[in-house]
């Protein structure tokens, strides 16, 4: 902590909290946005819940483990909401043309990113936990029955969402608001190869190599192994964690380079809608 002449105390945690507070104020200021956080995960859970009830009596695959589709949809939401939660908070600054104000304060980019990550976690929990609780009430299926591996799956997918979110924010910093749609679309390109609802073996052989390069694939394969065979694949988790670290480094690198590029172009003062 350093003290300046204006009675201020400089503290990194204080600045991270200031930015987190900003995003919480924004969330609180609009009930439709808060409702939206709950809406999509709950809707997805309802659709796949009824689908699971139907397939339970019509499909051997679901009969072997009722929750295989429900767990998949909720875990996919952790990845998707983790990325979107980060990107939306970032976009709030772009829509408000607020970067010019923020970065003439002592706020450092890394502190801003810490606030974005924290807000992403909050958005994921607000969206996914109520859906998970509703699944217990409606379908008598609890994803929490996965136990400790659920924490590991959650962490891997959230970290992957953060890595994607950082890279997407970097692309928006680099290319401007024309790249805004990446925030909603990019993660879905990974959905078919992440083997969310089906095993990797169903993919064409050449695509399986792509699938095994993604941390998410290890989570969904690991989840199925746990549900069908009651085996926790620690090797899957370790590989996913290593891939996550590589993706996070790449995402952070793209973001840092784009931020520096924005300072070189003078975009921080101009960027926005």
């Amino acid at each position: 902590m350093s003290r300046t002449d204006n009675g201020a105390t400089g503290g990194s945690a204080g600045r991270v909290w200031a930015m987190l507070l900003r995003y919480l104020y924004l969330l609180r200021s609009s009930w439709p946005r808060t409702l939206e956080l709950l809406y999509w995960p709950t809707l997805q859970m309802l659709i796949w819940g009824f689908m699971s009830q139907f397939l339970y009596v019509n499909s051997n695959y679901v009969f072997r483990a009722f929750g295989v589709l429900l767990a998949a949809v909720m875990l996919w939401d952790v990845l998707f909401r983790g990325q979107l939660g980060l990107s939306i908070s970032f976009l709030e600054e772009m829509w408000a043309r607020n970067l010019g104000h923020l970065f003439v304060t002592p706020l450092r980019p890394v502190e801003w990113v810490a606030a974005l990550l924290s807000m992403s976690l909050i958005r994921v929990l607000v969206g996914v936990v109520p859906a998970a609780l509703l699944a217990i009430v409606l379908y008598h299926y609890s994803i929490f029955a996965l136990g400790l591996p659920l924490v590991a799956f959650f962490a891997v997918l959230l970290a992957m969402g953060w890595a994607l979110g950082l890279a997407i924010c970097g692309m928006i910093l680099r290319h401007g608001m024309g790249a805004e749609s990446l925030a909603w679309l990019a993660v879905f390109t990974l959905s078919p190869v992440s083997a969310v609802y089906y095993p990797v073996s169903i993919l064409p052989h050449w695509l399986q190599h792509v699938a095994w390069a993604l941390p998410s694939t290890y989570v969904f394969e690991g989840m199925r192994t746990l549900l069908f065979q009651k085996i926790f694949r620690a090797d899957y988790l370790a590989t996913a964690a290593v891939l996550d670290l590589a993706m996070l480094a790449l995402g952070a690198g793209v973001f840092a380079l784009s931020f520096r590029g924005a300072r070189q172009r003078g975009a921080l003062l101009q960027m926005g809608e």
């Binding site: 105390t9 900003r22 104020y25 300072r263 003078g266």
Partner: protein, 263 residues
Amino acid sequence: MLADRGMMRHIGAMPAPAIEVKTLVKRYPSAIAVDGISFTVERGVVTALLGGNGAGKTTTLSILLGLLLPTSGTVHVLGEDILRHRYRVLPRMNFSSPFVDLPHRLTVRQNLLIYARLYGLRRRRERIEALAADLQVGAFLDRPAGKLSAGQKTRVALAKALLNEPELLLLDEPTASLDPDTGDWVRGYLEAWQARTGATILMASHNMAEVERMCADVLMMKTGRIVDRGSPRALIARYGRANLEEVFLHIVRKPEPALEAVS
């Protein structure tokens, strides 16, 4: 002049200039925005950065704020190298522009609280209440910032800019789009605040009457260079004109080869 009094207060201590710029260049692929300018701004002085559109004023302010990286040159602000140690000096300076609103969806109070936290201020609520009373924004502290009039937004932006009691305040056209009454109020407030604190102000402005009234020193920019410098009175006398607006028009309209850059 109020600004002169502020300058006198600092002469005894002889600290480093508030701003010291040397051979600053900002080159884009298609244009040179700032073309090797050098200048100093002494502490406690209100200085204007004048020039037509595209002269390089906003580019210069952005570099001083650390928002824009120069192609070459050195910039020292309050004795610190802004390119290497911007986080040492950012808590001691601030910026206000009517062209960059505070986030619309948050209330004025929420916005100010967040910026007070970013500056690491203690007794944030007291500071905001005091500034709100001073700048007459207390009545709409709990209104969304997007629902304010231009005059109210300008006063709120000033409240944000003065939160950390800056030693250096950078202003980009502080009274643009304000009616004459509100503009006069803002100028009066800034003059009184500067006289009280002895802070340094560097402002870009297109309002020549404002510059004549507030500024002890003027930097004239054209096509990325500083082409003249002096007090408003000295510039008016040098060019044999009736007021600063006529000096400005003379410089802006004069063919470029006749002008020589000064540092």
